[in-house]
């Protein structure tokens, strides 16, 4: 047996699994997105029509799709930086040598990640409640009139962002914590001897030290946040006025509420193309920064 064939044999199990559980579904979804597969086609395949790119064209002409896309981008632009800042901030706090009960705080900050979304939603619906909510109570103490967080289209997405950041920051915190601990102490010591201030230490020692991990974390967070679904699903059902309708929620409704599976597949591919493009852009930007 030739060496190269032996290599193929070794990777064959992985390739077969990938082909069956990734390539095949993706290809059939792509094929489905070119048809008008729906409830009627599910009952009788004679009702299936090949529509070419009409699903894609229809989506790009659908104001609701653009609204969902706009909402998702708004969520990502607001949520990802906020999430990373909070994660990094808490990671530095629990990494600080001055902090006490570090193990306890690590657990507390990580707890939201492992709690169930539905249970969390019940609590947060009360926190956001206009009349009895804890958040409005707190704001009332400093003289801010009650905000209808989930009922007003202007505040519903910020409310979802607050919830998502709270729910997810602990995960990135753990990754960033590991990165922070890998920055050698002697670098800090040398910088301090050179007279660097706290901010300069952060800017010129900490940030370059964790830069690769920060890139990874921001890409993972962005990819995750583009797939916003559970938060609006349990909190607002996409409302009010579709202000919290995300692309994935739109896809879910098309596919599993109305059974327009052809259109839903087209949504999935459009979202994939978008996420792929943004990730490439992000990688290119960070690479250029590393070179300069």
């Amino acid at each position: 047996m030739k060496r190269s064939t032996a290599g193929w044999w070794f990777v064959a199990p992985a390739l077969i699994v990938l082909a069956m559980f990734f390539l095949l579904p993706v290809l059939s979804a792509l094929a489905m997105s070119l048809t008008d597969f729906d409830l009627y086609a599910l009952a009788d395949l004679d009702n299936l029509r090949f529509v070419g790119l009409a699903n894609y064209g229809g989506l790009l002409a659908d104001p609701l799709f653009w609204k969902a896309l706009g909402n998702t981008v708004y969520f990502v632009v607001l949520g990802v930086p906020l999430s990373i800042v909070v994660s990094l901030g808490t990671a530095m706090l629990v990494n600080s040598k001055l902090a006490r009960f570090r193990g306890f705080f690590r657990t507390v900050y990580f707890a939201p990640v492992v709690t169930t979304m539905v249970a969390v939603a019940v609590v947060w619906r009360y926190i956001f409640h206009t009349r009895y909510g804890f958040l409005n109570y707190g704001l009332g103490q400093i003289g801010i009139p009650p905000i209808d967080w989930l009922g007003n289209p202007a505040t519903s997405m910020p409310a979802i962002v607050i919830l998502a950041v709270w729910k997810n920051f602990g995960y990135n915190m753990i990754i960033l914590l590991a990165a922070l601990q890998s920055v050698p102490d002697d670098l800090y010591e040398a910088a301090r001897i050179d007279g660097a201030s706290g901010w300069q230490l952060f800017r010129h020692v900490t940030l370059p030290g964790i830069a690769p991990v920060l890139t990874l974390v921001s890409i993972l967070t962005m990819v995750g946040y583009f797939q916003l679904f559970a938060e609006p699903y349990v909190m607002t059902e996409g409302g009010p006025l579709q202000s919290t309708l995300s692309v994935l929620y739109f896809m879910y409704e098309e596919g599993f509420k109305w059974w327009s599976l052809g259109r839903a597949s087209a949504v999935a591919f459009l979202l994939f193309v978008l996420m792929f493009a943004v990730t490439l852009l992000q990688l290119r930007l960070t690479r250029r920064e590393a070179l300069s």
Binding site: Y40, T130, R131, D148, G151, P240, L241
Partner: protein, 185 residues
């Protein structure tokens, strides 16, 4: 008043946060049970309003259906006949609070004497069944979305009607194509 502003419709109704609530007969028992004692006689049911006097309502709940391809049409029909008997419908009302659709079933004392049931008896005369197409649920959702935009003042009534017409037409496109094809063959 949207559902995000209410924590619990029965309590908030008792608190006087809103003055009317469009719901079905299944809620009568809940209102009886959950409203505070002092408000026991302070509420009543009423038929739906309309532009000229009493309005229409959609027949809620479910419909009885026999599939064309069913193997047991006779038996299914017998079940329908059984379920339509006044005494069976009265029993169902007793058990579930769901009101009977047949006029004859309303003669039972529980229904004839309940003041809260009267509005529903009046309304039963003016119900319309939902259109029997699978797309209806989606059209009803579009109706709700358009209504929401109308209430928020984003569109006026004429625009809302035109938008809804266009959406419903697009939703029914596939069905039209299927009916055309069935007509040709």
């Amino acid at each position: 008043m949207s559902n995000t502003q209410l924590s619990n419709v029965w309590d908030e109704f008792g608190n006087g946060l809103f003055s009317f609530y469009a719901s079905g007969p299944w809620n009568i028992a809940e209102f009886k049970k959950r409203l505070p004692e002092r408000l026991k006689d302070a509420w009543m049911t009423a038929p739906m309003p309309g532009p000229e006097g009493p309005g229409l309502s959609s027949a809620g709940g479910a419909s009885l259906v026999i599939f064309r391809s069913s193997q047991r049409k006779e038996e299914a029909w017998q079940l329908f006949e059984y379920l339509s008997r006044p005494e069976v419908q009265a029993k169902l009302y007793e058990l579930t609070g769901n009101m009977p659709p047949r006029r004859a079933s309303w003669q039972t004392p529980e229904l004839a004497q309940s003041p809260y049931a009267r509005a529903y008896r009046v309304q039963v005369e003016r119900v319309r069944a939902a259109p029997k197409v699978p797309e209806w649920e989606r059209i009803a959702t579009e109706l709700r979305i358009t209504q929401e935009r109308l209430v928020q003042g984003l569109i006026d009534v004429d625009e809302a009607a035109a938008e809804l017409d266009r959406k419903a037409d697009a939703i029914l496109e596939k069905r039209r194509w299927m009916l055309d094809r069935a007509g040709q063959s």
